[in-house]
């Protein structure tokens, strides 16, 4: 087994949100007790519906927001309680790729300065040396010097996402947190970027925390998967297990909801009733019980513990699972 690069245990985060004028401030429990680990060189994906806390988890791990509780071990170091000044080392090891290729690049900077920014921050290289590295890395992501001297908004979404990837790569990071990196792209461009991410992983021995709501994309890119619902991971495990032998009713429903791009395949669909509950008042007991087609009495009162599945590394939180 290869070494564990990232290990997260019991991660929690609540946001206090403004309530009505005379009401008490409310707490929105965005992430509630999330634990998982990623071996070096592998891809772990967080998948789930809008608002289930995927991005928040990513931002907690990259220390963009303060964790409420829990531990984050990166490369053998606990980083959840460190102050910003102590995080320099971690900031070099972890880079992010964002969903919106338009908003995540500064519109007033030229591409080469955008890509060179991590070098500007972390190294004392001269401008010429930085730009040399930029040229090299642009080549790697399928762009050229032609792009370097321009502004980001002169390019299409796919090209911008390549620029964002180049920026993330230039520090030779260990972990890349990619928050929906292909969701804003057209299908044909999405495939280009997914291929690129895979090639880069092999070439630079990268570890990915991949965040997405698209299960087909997740299946393509991941080694391990964590399925999130209302701030918790309800099931996690190796990709093969999650897709061929899902145990949690939510995972099953989610998988059956994906429209298959093949008219000859019609699958038995589990259609969940109702809407996602609000994370301000998450249901007691199992958070999924309000929509679960097989909920039992115990689900309404008791939170199901995390139980290991049959395969190593497979975990499920459901009362149905023995």
């Amino acid at each position: 087994m290869s070494k564990t690069l990232l290990k997260v245990t019991g991660l929690k985060k609540s946001f206090s949100i403004p309530a009505g004028m005379f009401e008490k401030k409310k707490l929105l429990k965005a992430v509630h007790d999330v634990s998982f680990m990623i071996p070096e060189g592998k891809t772990f994906s967080l998948v789930g519906e809008s608002g289930c806390g995927k991005s928040t988890t990513g931002r907690l791990i990259s220390r963009l927001i303060e964790p409420g509780d829990g531990e984050i071990w990166l490369d053998g170091e606990e980083i959840s309680q460190k102050k910003e000044a102590q995080l320099k080392g971690m900031r070099k090891k972890v880079q992010m790729i964002f969903q919106d290729p338009y908003a995540s690049l500064n519109p007033r900077m030229k591409v080469r300065d955008i890509v060179a920014e991590p070098l500007t921050i972390h190294t004392n290289l001269s401008r010429a040396e930085r730009y040399k590295q930029v040229s090299e890395i642009l080549e790697v992501v399928g762009l050229s010097d032609y792009h370097a001297n321009r502004y980001a908004h002169e390019f299409s979404g796919g090209q911008r996402q390549r620029i964002g990837i180049a920026r993330a790569l230039i520090m030779k990071p260990k972990l890349i947190i990619a928050d929906e990196p292909v969701s804003a792209l057209d299908v044909s461009i999405q495939a280009q970027i997914l291929n690129l991410l895979k090639e880069l992983q092999a070439e630079f021995d990268l570890t990915y925390l991949f965040i997405s709501h698209d299960l087909s994309v997740v299946e393509h890119i991941s080694d391990h998967i964590g399925v999130m619902y209302l701030g918790t991971i309800v099931e996690s495990g190796p990709k093969e297990v999650i897709f061929s032998n899902p145990q949690h009713p939510y995972t099953k429903a989610l998988l059956s909801s994906i429209p298959i791009p093949d008219p000859k395949l019609r699958r038995e669909r589990i259609i969940l009733q109702g809407d996602l509950p609000s994370p301000v008042n998450p249901p007691a007991g199992c958070r999924f019980h309000t929509r679960c087609p097989v909920a039992m009495d115990i689900c309404k009162g008791t939170e199901p513990p995390v139980k290991p599945g049959e395969t190593a590394g497979h975990f499920v939180s459901c009362h149905l699972v023995e």
């Binding site: 995540s104 032609y146 390019f155």
Partner: protein, 298 residues
């Protein structure tokens, strides 16, 4: 890599003119007809401020008791004042004083206000409350009253006018920059910079400040008009330039005794102030349309 060739070739098909923000700005600026005229006027004014002393037909300080309070005519196109000094020459000299005073005071105010606004918006918390409450206090006074109070403490003189006007400009700049900072702080590219480990300083000056620049430039051009008015008012009240200086405000002040008889003594500097303030405001409006498209109603 095969992929890279594909991407390049598709973008190089058409060799369009390279994008540059400055060219874009100039292109849009040419569409602003009024502002174009106003900016030409300001350009003229600046030229006058520089070469005025060389082209002035008369010495602005030298009295000529043979030609007191003459109306506009062939000898003196804008007439003369109570000491027989040529008003046109005095206006040319005054342009330099008015522009220097207003530019200096607005720039000082803008720098102070921008730094305070950035700090306040970026860090928030007690620093924000401190800065914003102090500026609230200053806002509670009418601008001119505040300036009078400052000059009253520091003593009259043009330098003190500059100080007074820049101080009373600070809160409005701080407010403006704070609100654009709050907005820019939430952008994804600022979050990206944070995730890379960029220092607060870098985030503020590399990523946030450029976002505020558009509205800042607009506001500066508007404030220059205000500053000219304020400086003139102070001089008019005898708190700024000394009476013999050819400052437009001081000239107004001298002329007020002859309002009934020789209107031109007041009219001429009045028109100069009016046109200049108007030009800066029109330019400000034009700049807003070009630089600050958010406030533009499409």
């Amino acid at each position: 890599m095969e992929l890279s060739k594909a991407v390049n070739s598709s973008t190089t098909i058409k060799k369009e003119k390279k994008y540059s923000p400055l060219r874009e700005l100039l292109k849009n600026w040419k569409k602003q007809k009024n502002a174009l005229w106003a900016s030409l006027f300001i350009l003229l004014l600046i030229t006058v401020a520089i070469i005025g002393p060389f082209i002035a037909p008369y010495d602005p300080y030298k009295p000529d008791y043979n030609a007191m309070l003459q109306g506009p005519g062939i000898d003196h196109i804008a007439g003369t004042d109570e000491y027989g000094r040529d008003i046109f020459s005095r206006l040319l000299f005054g342009a330099r004083i008015s522009l220097t005073v207003s530019f200096l005071s607005v720039f000082l105010g803008a720098i102070g206000g921008t730094i305070l606004g950035l700090l306040s918006g970026y860090f928030g918390g007690w620093l924000d409350r401190l800065i914003m409450r102090s500026s609230d206090v200053m806002f509670a006074f009418p601008d001119i009253l505040l300036a009078i109070a400052i000059v009253a403490i520091l003593g009259p003189g043009l330098t003190n006018v500059v100080i007074a006007v820049s101080i009373f400009s600070i809160p409005s700049f701080a407010r403006l920059v704070r609100s654009s900072t709050l907005e820019a702080k939430e952008t994804v590219f600022v979050e990206a910079a944070k995730s890379m480990g960029a220092s607060h300083f870098r985030i503020m000056f590399q990523h946030i400040l450029p976002e505020t620049l558009g509205s800042l430039i607009v506001f500066i051009s508007m404030r220059i008009g205000t500053a000219i008015l304020a400086a003139s008012s102070l001089s008019f009240l005898g708190l700024g330039a000394s009476p013999e200086t050819p400052d437009w405000g001081a000239m107004l002040s001298l002329g007020r005794d002859y309002l009934g008889t020789s209107t031109h003594v007041v009219m001429m500097p009045g028109i100069a102030i009016f046109l200049t303030v108007l030009a800066f405001n029109i330019v400000g409006d034009g700049l807003r349309d070009v630089l600050d498209p958010k406030t533009k109603n499409e």
